[in-house]
Symmetry: D2
Subunit: 339 residues, 4 copies
């Protein structure tokens, strides 16, 4: 692409949108933050002032800005489909926060729109850029553990999701909003598709989650296409901190990713040796967000396929829908692939 | 019971039988090893000489020995049923190595025989006496983690079982021979019965295991009666050592048991910091075997119910049978309870 | 102080100066980066462009800028004394990177100049703001380990210092450039002064360090005033990563800070379970640099004593000089306090 | 030597003597326990009954027993010298618990007596047989960490020594009774002699230790002959369990031995993740005691030099005496070698 720097606008200035704006401004050498947008005018204005860029409160208006090459869609998930399609139709490259959309049919529409417009569409499963996960992937590809046979993932958030993400109609619920990260890691690390899922779970921890129709404790057994098995457990509570651990066992070894404790401080008293938990994903994955941004910008500049495509985003939604069906039907459900 | 020391005979002098004999002789204050039995005469004789006790090659003959109060049944699993019943009929208390029998119907017979004869019958799920598991149980009972919601267990043996245990007709296969320990821990730690299991697995590691009709890599999703979920993964291979880890998440905390590494040695070179795996269960659980023996002897002397009953043994076999059925039928299967 | 935001100029744009500039710009809410200075014009210009601030190549010129409230002195150590004195005489508050100066007499001059001018002078021992060290300090203050008796510190850098810091005449050598952090932690955590040091060491690893008259492997035994002992080991080599660990044993417990491994990835093969080392101090202490900056800005706005004073900076230089003397004299040496 | 099994008598049935008797009886294939001796008749009799061996209350009488090939001297240290000399004069091989004697001159006498009599004399620094230390030694010998430069050892016992060992006149005090293990490891792992020591320490924890003239918290800086440095810290208190850690840094890597926590159980609550400490040396080093016994027996059967000689025992006492002198004189002290 014939440009020295990709000019970027960020649409949606909630916590994740703000992080992306900061990273684009201060860490991405080949990107330039040129605009920010939020329907809350005050938020758009103060953020724009900080970075001395343009402020929009209207998404359509921002899309008409000819200076902008690419947009970050960092709004609630239920708004993604329309925003992706509009951006595609405006010829802007698109970085969509995960998950790509709430439903499979929306995802199909979004992916097709980007394809038709010939713009890049990348979905923000940033763990792929975390140094530990990335190195694990490399080791597995190099054969360090032989043929991968079992993927196990424990994901416990310190608390329930804030704000709109508590509503499964807006967020897709626990299988999409939270655990689609873990399914993305299963696909990424093992390099096979998820074939069939079997789910058990309930809302056992928080009354508000129960009332909104979402779950907060789940277990998933699944099978990969072409061989291999997976177990995923997700919980919306972990009292001492973020507890995210993944392991992949192969015929010749096992790789372990993640830790439930911060090894940097231990207090030894008569009670024993007490470690602290790890901080939530912001600090754990900050560097991954930076690398993810670099990869998106590079895919535009080099005119290459983004490392996490719209299809990757779609797969996550397909799996989440199969999980909901397995829960309802109380039986193993085959994941249907739409594209 | 009116005796100062319980006089014990050990029947079956394979590796586990020898360990029990050594423990009874040198560690159990209230027990006295008086006889050992094996159909291999040489084995019986050399062991008997070491401890200066009687040697038998015929089980029936040993059971007629009036000096013997209790027998350890430490032969291949397929022999247990008959040996337990005979011991019961001879009025001897019985310690049966796990699993109690190969099939549910055999277990029912064995349990009934012991009940009818009024003798103690204890089954050797020694992890219940391991200090880590025992303390975990205590902490959970005291409410340290609130209401238990999720049980997760990873069990990877360093290699396939030796000798007769490779034949699932003699051993019950992976769900009974190996993973009944893990189901016993699920029942022990959570204090609820296993209600329904869903299994995936295959023989992916060893040709000889495949040919004998057993599995070497499995994943199990299950549900507890009264609430809560479980995930178990078992593998007959772990290239760097024994990898046994259990965790129980509750509403107020999580308990972690086991470790895949020995923290006592780390070698730091340019490749990183390399730890060794842990040794197999002999050294990990030696002290548990001692405590288990003490508990059995105490239950006789105090005339109390043994801490792991025949019913506990039966439960493990019921679950294993349900696992095989789930695998065959490719669907969740309810565990049927027979007693 | 009657200002909404402290306006800051950064003098010296080597790697640490650039990090401070970035932090002031993007992370310090109450500070505003208004100027950067480096004698390398290109460096000053490109950095100034990035943040849209003024560029200086002449330190005296920057000090005349009336907009500037405070300067960061982030040049090689041998330049600190003069720059601190000039800044003080210009009425600017001063943040000096550690160590404050190369020699004790320089430090005394610098401290006196700041006192005379009535400006804040803070020295950048950022570990005081690291969450692990800070929490350890808090726990010790609260009595979690009783009365502190022994301080142990192992500090192994992944490699020799880059550039000018290899010359002990410019940097003060290993006791000042590197280990003054560790002595600062001893004083910080135990809340007592260092009374007497005994040193052994040599240049055993790098020929270039030997030729410049510095050391690369040292061990220090010391005693606190008012009771308690310390052991410090420093090395300029650690082949698998940064190895920084501190422990404080008290009458009622022990606190451990730091870890030699990153727990987030382990690769288990036949060789064992291999962890990676931790990254060097940039990523380990990035958040500490941010908090340190906040503390400096707050001390100006609230007109309070900075949390790390010029006297703290002086103490480190006094100890380093005593270390060199102990090495030369091959005996324990009392640390002389000058202010 | 023309014998199938070495016939052993154990003299001194305190806790360590009992452990040796148990190991000789049940674990050493090539040894036969034939007698036990203690001046407390009841102790001698009950132990002898357990193993069906001879009981002695008089050491001289036991030495006259022609059936006995070798004696274990497991009495308080102050009795060792005379017992070793008598055993040597009776032509018995000798295993002496560490330390060999209380003073250097006693050690010289004991070593000379064994030499003159041509009997084996081995001293029980069992850590040399611990799998972690032994493997570390092997790795270092193979060059895994290059040239060893720094030895660091932290040794914290859970509590003060019991019984007679509290009296430094009987035990040699902290430098001999406790830390001679650590100096032995320094010599063993680095394969160099200790040249000079510098000590700081006091009795800060226990009034009874102070009154008896011993220390409970010490730090030692030392230098190896031929290059390399050492730091040792010892404490008679560690509130959450035995804390023994050793590390050796070389030009190409670092080896870490020991751990302050048992990784097998962690309880995660709002307070964090709490591990338990490790059990005291009995369980940590039980297998090492077994291997040590095997090595002693083998050295007799193969007529080879024992792996830990009387000279090794003497070195430990020489170092301990230099430590006491350094403490008194408050200066570095050269270790004088007597044989």
């Amino acid at each position: 692409m014939n440009m020295s720097k990709v000019k970027v606008g960020v649409a949606g200035l909630g916590r994740i949108g703000k992080v992306h704006a900061e990273i684009i401004f201060s860490r991405l050498e080949k990107a330039e933050l040129v605009a920010v947008m939020d329907i809350v005018g005050e938020l758009a204005r103060t953020t724009a002032e900080k970075y001395k860029v343009k402020a929009y409160t209207d998404y359509d208006a921002m899309l008409k800005d000819p200076e902008i090459d690419a947009v970050y869609v960092t709004t609630p998930t239920n708004l993604h489909k329309e925003m992706i399609i509009k951006a595609a139709e405006s010829g802007k490259h698109i970085f969509a926060e995960k998950p790509i959309t709430v439903t499979v049919s929306e995802a199909v529409e979004a992916v097709k729109a980007a394809e038709k417009a010939g713009v890049k569409l990348m979905v923000g499963y940033m763990r792929r850029f975390d140094d530990a996960y990335r190195t694990a992937k490399k080791k597995i590809s190099e054969g360090a553990i032989g043929n991968p046979l079992v993927f196990i993932n424990v994901a416990r958030d310190p608390g329930p999701p804030p704000g709109w993400a508590q509503d499964p109609r807006l967020s897709g619920g626990i299988f999409l909003d939270m655990l689609s990260h873990d399914f993305d890691m299963a696909r990424f690390l093992v390099s096979r598709e998820v074939k069939e899922v079997y789910v058990r779970g309930e809302a056992a921890l928080y009354e508000e989650i129960k009332q909104k129709g979402d779950l907060d404790v789940v277990t998933i057994s699944f099978e990969f296409e072409g061989g291999g098995y997976g177990l995923i457990h997700g919980s919306r509570k972990s009292v001492f901190g973020y507890d995210l651990r993944t392991e992949v066992m192969g015929t010749e070894g096992t790789i372990y990713i993640g830790s439930q404790t911060d090894p940097n401080l231990a207090v030894g008293t008569k009670q024993g040796l007490t470690y602290r938990g790890v901080q939530w994903f912001w600090s754990r994955f900050y560097d991954a967000y930076v690398s993810e941004g670099e990869a998106f910008i590079n895919s535009i500049l080099m005119d290459e396929k983004p490392p996490i495509t719209g299809i990757d985003g779609l797969r996550a939604v397909e799996i989440a829908e199969a999980c909901w069906e397995s829960l309802r039907e109380h039986k193993p459900v085959t994941v249907k692939r739409r594209l």
